[in-house]
Amino acid sequence: MKKTVLLGTVAGLAAGGALAQNSSTLEQVRDRGNLICGVTTGLTGFSAPDANGEWQGFDVDLCRAIAAATLGDPNAADFVTTTGQTRFSALASGEIDVLTRNTTWTYSRDNDLDFEFAGVNYYDGQGFMVPAELGVTSALDLDGATVCIQTGTTTELNLADFFRANNISYEPVPIETNAEAQQQYLAGACDVYTTDASGLAATRATFENADEHVILPEIISKEPLGPAVRHGDPVWGDIVRWTLNALVTAEELGITSANVMDLAAEAGDNPEVNRLLGTEGELPEMLGLESDAFANAIAAVGNYGEIFERNIGESTPIGLARGLNALYTEGGLQYAPPFR
């Protein structure tokens, strides 16, 4: 399909496209044989290419899980890099099937831009990092400070709101990429670097002298990051939502990538495990998926906890604690509705 598209346009044909949008996203994905996910052009721990050109990261693994659930093959996921500016039109125009790109779920994005957020895979919040030698202990001490921000995100709006609400002044230095913001911050061109707390921790972890920088206690915003799909295809939204839920439920039920195949081989004692893995009832079939869809997803990337630990957890250089992203049973917010 894609070949003729490519060729037609190379030849200068205007109407080269053939992906009719009348069929559902799931059908399109199946016809095409691959799932196209929008990811960032690079965000430490969330999506980045390794030396072999394989994409790795927290968001990337979610995409692989969806690919495994819909197509049975985690390697059927293709990644399209998007910037903060191009991500929404890429999704709206159908260039990508699902946006797994640390995107904050907000009211206007959900309703004005007409997207559907299929849950939250990372609860984040905007924080501040400052050099320890400044002696700043609270964001409220930052009156008159120069603040480096990454543009194209909700960050700049939160920042404006925070400083206005507290009636303190600041000097924003908007920067296009994380790498540049990091360079500016380390060179002292700004006093403070602000972005999502996960990004701050990831950035700080790679500093030569990480001890000389502190992350302030204030988290000034709610940044529920989650996968987004187009409005108007509820089934596809549900597939993404319940794949994410399956990963969380798997952690809750103790299903890991190591034991999932054994558990899925035949029905066991726990009925919810059976329903999730497709050995009992017909839950995945209700979405038009194969019965082992969720088992495949878990087998491909592991449960939510495994994904977290492998990419951004405390054993990695980034070293994020679970915090809000722990299961609700452990004091966090990750809570999946029951598979019933």
């Binding site: 598209v5 490519l6 060729l7 030849a11 044909l13 109407a15 980045a48 890429a90 260039e95």
Partner: protein
């Protein structure tokens, strides 16, 4: 012997020089290094000051940059390992470049995510393409080699993207059909022939090409592995966008230039409007248009990948600039050439094809090459719409935990890469300019 003695005595000269004195060397200040220095560096007070300042600047830059570069570490798996090696070798806090990122990510910077076992394909494709450009660039080569140039885009396309060989063959067949239609009708009527040359291939591509490719492929399956555009990145991406845009924009640019100089009111005004609109707006805005808006302008449901949209947009962009270069070439031709062509009874297209354009294009080539250099450098702007060109990849590489925090090494490498290519091309364009100047004298 005695005779000479007698003569000598007769003149009573106290001294006669019998051989030339060896020429004494010029004064120390007028020879060798000193003279060169005096004339070239210290000819006046102003020059002395400038020289000293220049030397200071060179020394300052060299003393800051060279040690850092020369201490560079070439083998390491991550930035932190680089730092450890550096601490071991030179002590903590000493500046040392970490070139290891280049050795590890070399492939990615050059080819993006292109499958590693298929690297020969883009290399062969680009090499074939460049080789096929030679007949156009250097007029000494025999003319039949131009057929290679005509085939080059299709061969390069097939090698880089892969897939069935019938796709490029059938598309090329469309051009052949157009040429046939033109030849067949040109005896009947010029306008009809021209129209047919445009309409026939377009109809062929729109309706016949797809099924024909499928049929041929099922009859004689000849295909190599298909590589999607998403996998293409790095320097290869810059080369592909640059080359395809310049090749595609040439015919369009020539038409626009002819249109702008045309006597036909509507055509000339439309050409002017198109050229000025494109040239009046920065490329980055056009790229955002390609990324955000182009899908709006296409029939509902059309969806083709970003790289193609970018190529289309950059082609339109380049064609406006090429049009201005060609217009300069057309204007530079003496009026006698136009009048001469008319007096031979040639019609418009014949006179353009046989008399005017060959000469005008020849003098426009340096300008076209310069446009291409500018365009090639501007391909770096695609980073703003999320394509992974070398700069985009440098951001992606920095996002891995291994290389987060590496900065200058990548930029220096990318800068050098572009410099080498662009510098070579600009030398070529200067060579052409000199050659043209000689020939015109």
């Amino acid at each position: 012997m005695s005779d000479t003695h007698a003569q000598t005595a007769a003149f009573q000269a106290s001294f006669v020089r019998e051989e030339m004195v060896a020429a004494s060397p010029p004064p120390a200040r007028d020879r060798g290094v000193v003279k060169w220095l005096r004339e070239n560096l210290f000819s006046s007070w102003l020059n002395v000051i400038l020289t000293v300042l220049g030397l200071l600047a060179i020394w300052w830059i060299a003393s800051h940059v060279f040690p850092w570069m020369l201490r560079g570490i070439w083998v390491a798996d991550s930035l932190s390992e680089c730092r450890e090696i550096r601490n071991e070798r030179y002590g903590e806090g000493v500046g040392a470049a970490c070139w290891a990122v280049l050795t590890e990510r070399w492939n990615q910077l050059m080819f993006g995510f292109y499958p590693q076992d298929l690297y020969w394909r883009p290399v062969a494709g680009v090499a074939f393409f460049v080789a096929a450009l030679m007949p156009i660039l250097f007029s000494r080569l025999p003319r039949w080699t131009l057929w290679f140039s005509a085939a080059a885009p299709f061969v390069a396309f097939w090698l880089i993207w892969g897939g069935t060989i019938w796709a490029p063959v059938v598309v090329a067949g469309g051009f052949a059909l157009g040429a046939l239609a033109y030849v067949a009708l040109s005896n009947v009527n010029q306008i009809a022939a021209t129209l047919a040359a445009i309409v026939v291939p377009v109809l062929f591509w729109l309706f016949a090409a797809g099924p024909l490719i499928g049929a041929l492929q099922s009859a004689i399956p000849l295909a190599i592995e298909f590589v999607p555009s998403d996998d293409i990145g790095g320097f290869l991406l810059a080369v592909i966008i640059g080359f395809s845009a310049i090749i595609l924009s040439l015919p369009l640019g020539i038409l626009l230039a002819l249109g702008r100089r045309s006597d036909l009111f509507i055509i000339s005004k439309v050409s002017v409007a198109f050229i000025e609109t494109i040239r009046g707006v920065p490329l980055i805005v056009w790229l955002f248009t390609a990324s955000l808006l182009l899908n709006y302008f296409m029939p509902p449901g059309t969806n083709f990948d970003l790289m193609l949209r970018v190529i289309i947009m950059v082609t339109l962009f380049a064609s406006a600039y090429i049009a201005e270069v060609v217009r300069g070439g057309l204007a530079a031709l003496p009026k006698g050439q136009y009048e001469g062509a008319d007096s031979l009874g040639l019609d418009y297209w014949q006179s353009m094809r046989l008399v005017i354009l060959p000469q005008a294009l020849k003098i426009s080539i340096p300008g076209i090459v310069n446009t291409f250099i500018g365009l090639f450098k501007d391909t770096t702007l695609v980073v703003f719409i999320g394509l992974l060109d070398p700069i985009g990849l440098s951001n992606a590489i920095r996002a891995t935990t291994a290389w987060n925090g590496i900065y200058w090494e990548l930029f220096i490498f990318i800068g050098l890469l572009f410099f080498v290519c662009c510098f070579a091309m600009s030398r070529y364009s200067m060579y052409l300019e000199r050659k043209l100047a000689r020939e015109h004298r």
